[in-house]
Symmetry: D2
Subunit: 298 residues, 4 copies
């Protein structure tokens, strides 16, 4: 198939290579010229603007947006909507908030455009060699795109999830689960680290990946991380986050349901971003007030 790819960052570049490998024709655009040249060397056609990209594709066009969530996605989508024509398809492969995707689906529909929200998992390696995708959007049109998703993903690695919104929603929840699983694994190794025993963490992760109940790709990555830095001395334990975990928690709150493990996984990330907390100061001050317990001075 022929495909337009807008956004050649970490993910977009690898997805393009993946597609080129499978003999798809890629017309790529990015505002970064180096990124454009890099993908051109690999066999992609390039476009200096969204308008040019659209003009280079035959109808009905299929255009994949792979830019940062938030303003970047909104700006690219809005610009793109001005150039595409009825019957064209836009796939947002980023991690947009599902309510925004639903709204983009409606804006697309008004113009006769088919919008697909595609959650993409598997990291950079997955983008290159076989990702996992969850796609919301028109069922009939999805059948047209099936070969594309088949080639981009590992075997059985794509699913049409329902109407627009359902793809990014599912990816959001996937990431919420990921937060919980990662924190669970990390807490486990923290307990090992404080234990009286002298475990080699790479070997622990390795044996857990062979036959145990908790064998998983995340445990394989854990093994790989400990292989590079056996006690993680070189890095700080500051856990950033990029939004999906927060959305998952907020969504659970909106449903008035308790998802404490996903929630706490998020809260501990936030806690790690603060060196000291005002919460802690208040509790320390109170202990001093009633019990005369010493406080530690700054």
């Amino acid at each position: 198939m022929q495909l337009g790819m807008i956004g050649l960052g970490k993910m977009g570049h690898q997805l393009s290579l993946n597609l080129l490998d499978k003999d798809h024709q890629v017309v790529a655009h990015d505002i970064n010229e180096d990124a454009l040249m890099a993908i051109a060397k690999q066999g992609a056609d390039t476009a200096a603007s969204i308008a040019e990209l659209v003009s280079k594709l035959s109808k009905p066009r299929t255009i994949w947006i792979m830019v940062s969530v938030g303003d970047a996605t909104e700006n690219v989508f809005t610009a793109l909507l001005d150039h595409v024509e009825p019957g064209d398809r836009i796939i947002d492969g980023g991690n947009a908030y599902y309510k925004e995707s639903i709204s983009r689906g409606e804006r697309s529909k008004e113009k006769g455009i088919y919008f697909f929200d595609c959650g993409t998992s598997g990291g950079i390696e997955g983008a290159r060699n076989g990702a996992c995708t969850m796609i919301g959007g028109d069922q009939e049109q999805f059948e047209e795109l099936r070969p594309l998703f088949h080639d981009l993903t590992v075997e059985n690695g794509y699913l049409h999830t329902g109407p627009v919104g359902s793809g990014h929603f599912l990816k959001m929840v996937h990431n919420g689960i990921e937060y919980g699983m990662m924190q669970a694994i990390a807490e486990g190794f923290d307990i090992l680290d404080k234990s009286p025993f002298d475990y080699e963490y790479e070997k622990v992760a390795n044996v857990w990946n062979h036959g145990s109940v908790i064998r998983s790709w995340l445990m394989e990555l854990t093994e790989s991380a400990f292989q590079k830095d056996p006690s993680l001395d070189q890095i700080k334990g500051i856990m950033h986050s990029s939004g999906e975990g927060k959305w998952t928690v907020e969504t659970a709150l909106d449903y008035e349901m308790a998802a404490p493990v996903i929630t706490l996984a998020l809260l501990m990330r936030y806690r790690s971003q603060e060196q000291d907390t005002f919460t802690g100061k208040v509790v320390a001050a109170l202990r001093n007030e009633f019990g005369g317990h010493a406080v530690e001075k700054n």
Copy 2:
């Protein structure tokens, strides 16, 4: 009444003063001679040893142990048990683990001694001017001690809670609740601190103490703490703990019940004791592994 007081630390000294104020006769012992002299100046009789203290009291004796929880309590109790005689009463006013108090109650009973486990709340100020006590032990003998508890506490500030163990158990749970309440208050002020508004925390605590649902002694202490240091700049947010919170959580676990707020209040204290965590390092390393997300280097 006449009372032996073993232990003249922060709490024992104030309790002794409180008793002397109410015209009780106090025979005090502490291994610290300065502490002994200080209380002697206030009108207490003193004893250089537990043996001497016991010998100075008329039968049936009433002896209050007010030393640190753990080894100190165990050592004093064991020594004391060698000197007291059938019909004497031992009150442990410290924060012993209730199962140890039950065991001390049994060891006392074998010798014909009445053991009381007395949880004491209200902080140092309460010890001096009127505490709150929860006392487990023999009901009939408790009636003999009632004037003592009446005088030591604020009006209606004492309760016979049942058999030995029930006093310290109740104090343990009291402290568990205290952990939760303190953390809740502290989190609230932390949110205020991050808000776009410019609250004066002392005034906030003050207004909350006048008519609001959360008016409480802890909020009064919060007001007092902010009066001394309006933004708590001078102290670190490291929250130590002295055992009862942990026992409360462990007890809830033994009952297979969910007490998440008390539990999290404890866990956040532990978290505050670590500058950086291995948990955080593992999560940061994993994010780097699958998403190429940057880690912060040490």
Copy 3:
């Protein structure tokens, strides 16, 4: 002073009585005629419509909105804004979301109206006999209203908190703290209930209210609740919530801060609203899958 009161529910009725007691002149409006008649009997003037209420007040008018949060507040505010005149003051005494209050402040300002967001705490009893209020809005105009807040509240029970929004924000956080404190207290009594001891909860709450660290109005209410129903046999443990706790948690998430105790207090409320959970089913099914552990059938 003369005051218009819109909304004669539980809170508005009591606030009106409170104002009448202090010789303020109240013109009241409610769509419920019985409520109108009830307050008329107590000495209030009444108005059948917002327009009539406005017409009955002398300029500059002071009008207190005390209706349900959400649509009711929005509808009353919008209608009222059509009738008031520059220099008039609107006080929203309900629990609106602070961002909506900020927006109402801006809409008021465009018309030359002074808007105050007033968080009101202390429950129904407080509304009647002396509440606690936290008020955001114009400082100078607030001075004009000071006698009103003085009379409505307990001594020192009101605070001008800053610009519009700061009043409801502070009330929101107050309620977040309240959630945490209540859950902490409740978990404590739950542990007592599972203990081997046989505590009388009313007496426990009573002694804790006399000299202990956790003495508080909430503990007084706990005492009162146990006085009416010693083991709470007659009620279900379903914990509803009315929004402020959720807003507090969402606000903390927006600040990327960890407020785990307030958060868990909210999540346990949500958990209590479900008889059985899908989460539980999935875990039970998984345990069966890998360990052959029996599941309980529906």
Copy 4:
């Protein structure tokens, strides 16, 4: 090799079959005669008593205990210790608490017996076809047993973890991680279940197992569970637990470290075991006290 197997429950039976497949010689004992007969049919020799089992093995003997944790393990171990001789090896393949295993290691050492604490993961299927084992105990003797562990486990599925205690400790933490991962997965599906979308959970789990970040054996089991019962209508969400999760949490508490995700995973299991909670009753009663909020009657 020749091996004695004590305990032919779900796990012991499958492990025996697994060993017989690999041409090991198994002498089995269980107090349940049906279990004995069943394994005899598969080619194992049997023993009616521990004494007989010991007498049937050539020295140095290797005996695997695979009975329930707690009293059963203690009783079997104690009986066995009376019959074995210096140089013999005892492997406890159950999930004993690591401190008890350390103690059994010491008791064994006094008699010249080599004790190994072997954590076994992988469920029943793993026991049959290839488990994952983590073994603490004497390094040199472990080399003698290596062929056994090699054959019992999947490739690379065994690890000598250090001294006695380190095997069961590692398995304990493995299970703690498992609790967290399972709860994270389950919360995710619960959010899906409350969403406006209409996901087929088996397909969701399937796609997540192909290329996503959260692909894992637990997700494969999730897929399998939904294949059998698409909406888990037939089972209740009551989550039992068998001890390791609790030990993990208690161990983290002893290290004064925050492991909130593993902890909450455990607490939600406990919560699921109660239909209604006293905690909930207290909070509901308090809301009624101060706000007049309706309670739901029993």
